[in-house]
């Protein structure tokens, strides 16, 4: 479904992605894990056209989306839920969701279909419906995350890129959001790329995973194998900490 080949991305002189290749199959959940500054956000932003790659190619559903502007990439079926939610704070919850369907409005899709999908988002996140007339900026962090996910889903993406959806949220809310992500794959067959600091939770849900370190893929494989991998355990799952502490 998605094929990324030898991608390099720079911020000025900072070489943030170094020759990265990866792929996603239809209906897969793939986790992208790595420490702070490893390049996870950059990877998603390169896929979304926010920070275009200087070399390499990105293919989605057999078409090249390399170098396209962000709005064109959404049009091709790839939506991102950005790090830190980035909801439109001065607009209402309902307006935020409506804007998620902006391209569908532009292509004159029937308003009923869009309204039905909005109802579906409210079903996934009932709290958003209660607050639909509230400014998005007044929502709690967890609610903003739900809104950011709902907004991305309103575009009906085939591939959903999620950047640290659990960041700064209470465990219960994280669980709620992860449940919805699993439901999306099960019920709608949405393909998902999940970036997480919370590597354990991400790998438990994912089919496969990639481990990023300083802009390079250092490990890849089925999620279950990565969970068992000693490197991964030491670096990202905090398994060996206790033993070190005891020594």
């Amino acid at each position: 479904m998605l094929k990324v080949k030898n991608i390099n991305t720079y911020y000025g002189k900072v070489h943030a992605l170094k020759n990265i290749s990866l792929h996603l199959g239809e209906g897969e959940i793939v986790a992208l894990i790595g420490a702070n500054g490893a390049g996870k956000t950059t990877m998603l932003n390169t896929l979304s056209g926010v920070t275009p790659a200087s070399s390499g190619s990105i293919n989605f559903l057999g078409e090249s989306i390399t170098g396209l502007a962000p709005d064109r990439i959404v049009k091709n079926g790839v939506s991102q839920v950005p790090e830190g939610r980035q909801v439109f704070k001065g607009l209402t919850v309902a307006d935020n969701l409506e804007l998620g369907a902006y391209l569908r409005f532009c292509s004159r899709e029937s308003k009923d279909a869009i309204r039905r999908d909005m109802g579906h988002i409210y079903e996934l996140f009932p709290r958003l419906e209660e607050r639909r007339k509230q400014m998005a900026g007044t929502l709690s962090g967890g609610e903003q995350q739900m809104l950011a996910i709902g907004r991305a889903l309103m575009a009906k993406p085939k591939l959903l890129l999620l950047d640290e959806p659990s960041m700064g949220l209470a465990p219960l809310v994280v669980q709620e959001i992860f449940t919805v992500i699993e439901r999306l794959r099960r019920d709608e067959g949405t393909t998902i790329m999940l970036v997480e600091q919370n590597a354990k939770a991400a790998l438990k849900m994912a089919d496969r995973g990639y481990v990023l370190e300083t802009g390079k893929v250092i490990l890849e494989g089925p999620a279950a194998e990565l969970l068992e991998n000693r490197e991964v355990q030491r670096a990202y799952l905090g398994k060996d900490k206790k033993e070190i502490w005891e020594r």
Binding site: P70, V74, F88, G90, L91, Y102, L139, A152
Partner: protein, 302 residues
């Protein structure tokens, strides 16, 4: 005693008169100021060519009336349309080609663009000042002790209509919401599929349209010429600054306040101070309350 009372009456009549003319020029400043705010909110650009759109509104109307011999309403529609297109062209030729715009390069290019537009208007239309006929005669109507010109009523009515339509557009249409989304968070706007550059173009078009309307409705009172945009642009900018660059009520109030203060200052102190008042207010606001007079406390959570 009687004498004193009469003088007081005279003064309050005068003040009523200054208020009428102040509010109507203030409405003009508000329209121009909203144009500044719309572009600023969408792009963080202060478009110093906004005043030239005001000038173009008047000049295109004149062209329609004198050269094409069109009836006034048609000439006005044509002028608004042509100025809106000029705003689009302006964005295409000056803002969009910039590879990596900096605030300074944007200031320079909009100022450069404004000088160019003024120059062309002077070459084509000459240096004379021209009159545009009042929309429905100039027999003053008396309201209480003050008199009001029909053109003042046109100004109030058209300004209110333009501001209400503008508000409805940004509040309820999907394109208006998309433009607000760009203003709130450009990157996120791109990520939901909004073509950010297109929204920038729209903001230039709308601002030019509003500016041209201001230039057209004020022209019967003040005459028009190739260089009216400089002062009107600055006054509109001042209104927007008083209003904290809000695209709504703040800038409207800012414009009205400025218009009234100017008119009172010119009438009661000396007409020589009229233009100085705007600059004094501008400087005071920028030093003391750069967020504008009417901005509410932030309600956002981070």
């Amino acid at each position: 005693m009687a004498c004193l009372k009469q003088r007081n009456m005279g003064l309050s009549d005068q003040i009523a008169q200054y208020l009428v003319s102040g509010l109507s020029t203030g409405a003009i400043y508000a329209l121009i100021g909203i144009g500044f705010a719309i572009i600023y909110n969408g792009t963080e650009i202060i478009n110093f060519a906004q005043g030239e759109m005001v000038m173009l509104g008047g000049m295109f109307t004149l062209f329609g009336l004198d050269v094409l011999k069109l009836p006034l309403p048609v000439a006005i529609l044509m002028a608004v349309t042509l100025t809106t297109l000029s705003g689009v062209l302006f964005e295409r030729l000056t803002i969009r080609p910039l590879k990596s715009p900096t605030p300074l390069s944007l200031v320079i290019i909009t100022i450069g663009g404004s000088i160019l537009i003024r120059g062309i208007a002077m070459l084509v239309g000459g240096k004379d000042t021209h009159a545009i006929p009042a929309f429905s005669g100039s027999d003053p109507l008396s309201i209480g002790s003050a008199t009001i010109l029909p053109q003042h009523l046109w100004i109030f009515a058209l300004t209110v209509i333009a501001i209400v339509l503008n508000k409805l557009f940004f509040q309820y249409s999907i394109t208006g919401k998309a433009m607000r989304a760009c203003a709130a968070n450009r990157r996120a706007a791109g990520l939901v599929g909004i073509d950010v550059r297109r929204m920038v173009l729209f903001s230039f078009a709308i601002s030019a349209g509003l500016g041209s309307l201001a230039g057209i409705i004020v022209a019967p009172l003040t005459m028009t010429s190739y260089d009216v945009g400089v002062m009107l642009g600055l006054k509109g900018f001042c209104a927007a600054i008083i209003g904290g660059l809000s695209g709504g009520l703040g800038t409207v109030l800012g414009g009205l306040l400025l218009g009234v203060l100017e008119s009172l200052g010119a009438g009661l102190i000396s007409s020589g101070y009229k233009d100085a008042i705007a600059f004094i207010i501008l400087l005071l606001i920028l030093f003391i309350r750069p967020q504008g007079l009417f901005s509410r406390a932030q309600t956002e959570r981070v």
